[in-house]
């Protein structure tokens, strides 16, 4: 997933990664150490990649001005229209699962030019036909000011592309060995028939080496436990 994310980072862009996002942080750093040395990288809670002095307010103000080209979000539920639920599963008053809350996601999903949605679990309880509550809508009516929005959804099984015309996720590529049947079984909404689907190339030995060395070392400053366990394979 980290190498898939790295390939989406473009050199010279301003790229930010928020809270609880070690996989995007790893991918962005990998890109920064390879093809995107001139990207401006912002990692929340990282001592070396946090160019703000006045807390997250300064970060959010910067984002509201359209300062970020690429940002990352996730969801307790994600639906086929790119809607994200960070509020609750089930009734809000008596939720089955209380999620952390939308925080800035309903702003960043509109204002960051491209948003990559990531989720390390690909299952029917996460990828649903319709989220219970929309913290961040995938699309908006034309009168709503919205320069940005969903771009891709990256999971351990596949990459969805967000089709702006159809306002829906379509399968763009799958990880090696993932069959269409498995993908359909583990996705809670009907997959759009998009014809040919590419297979995502395996990480190169160079990418793996960088992930296990420089990236791991840098990510450890924010996610020590993740750095300890995630790069061993």
């Amino acid at each position: 997933m980290a190498t898939v994310i790295a390939r989406e980072v473009r050199d010279g862009e301003t790229v930010a990664v928020g809270t609880l996002a070690p996989v995007p942080a790893s991918g962005v750093l990998l890109a920064h150490f390879t093809h995107a040395p001139r990207a401006r990288v912002v990692l929340l809670n990282h001592p070396d990649y946090w160019p703000f002095r006045q807390g997250s307010k300064e970060f959010y103000d910067f984002a509201q001005r359209g300062g970020f080209d690429l940002f990352f979000l996730s969801g307790g539920q994600i639906d086929r229209h790119g809607n994200l639920n960070l509020i609750a599963v089930g009734d809000v008053e008596r939720p089955r699962v209380r999620l952390p809350g939308g925080a800035g996601s309903a702003m960043l999903y509109y204002l960051a030019r491209r948003v990559i949605v990531f989720r390390t679990e690909h299952s029917p309880r996460i990828f649903v036909e319709r989220v219970d509550h929309v913290a961040s809508p995938g699309s908006s009516p034309p009168e709503v000011a919205r320069p940005g929005g969903p771009w891709k959804v990256v999971t351990p099984l596949c990459v969805f592309r967000f089709d702006r015309e159809r306002k829906a996720l379509v399968v763009e590529s799958v990880h090696p060995g993932v069959t269409r049947e498995e993908l359909a079984r583990r996705t809670g909404f009907a997959l759009d028939d998009v014809g040919s689907v590419e297979v995502i190339p395996e990480p190169t030995s160079g990418e793996l080496h960088l992930l296990r060395t420089r990236v791991r070392e840098a990510v450890a400053k924010t996610y020590p436990q993740f750095a300890e366990t995630a790069f061993t394979r």
């Binding site: 002095r53 006045q54 807390g55 997250s56 309903a106 702003m107 913290a135 009168e143 919205r146 436990q225």
Partner: protein, 161 residues
Amino acid sequence: MAVPGHVGSDYERLRPEFKVIPNPYDPAQPVMIVPAIRCDAALIHALAATPDGTLLLDHMEDDALLAQASRVVIASAERIVTRDELGRAGEGVVLEGIHVTAVVELPRGAHPTFVRGLYAVDAAHLSEYVVAARDDEAFRDYLARYVHGPKDHAAYLALLT
């Protein structure tokens, strides 16, 4: 205040105090407005403080904003220093004492969370808390042991191994 984005999300349904109005500067465009949060009290922990309540705060956190949104601000600090020493006490942002109601010296006052540069998160203790929080009886035991039991912060810290 106005917040960008948000229009069309379920916050319109779930938070009736969040309102969507025509943007006064471009009436064709809807914009969400939210009321300011006004807290009765804020409890914040500083890297260092002067006796008049001026605080040196972690620049990655929003404590200065929280203090300014609250009627009463009670600060604890790793150490009390002079104004001169505050400037040399380390990286951070300074919040002037005019925003602060009371200040107390409390080394390791952020435990089990962290103070950047001084001590890390106590992951084992947080795990203990998470397990205890799963049921009422276990949580009562946790409170008795760590919150109501110790007579002061030093006694609390002495419980930790």
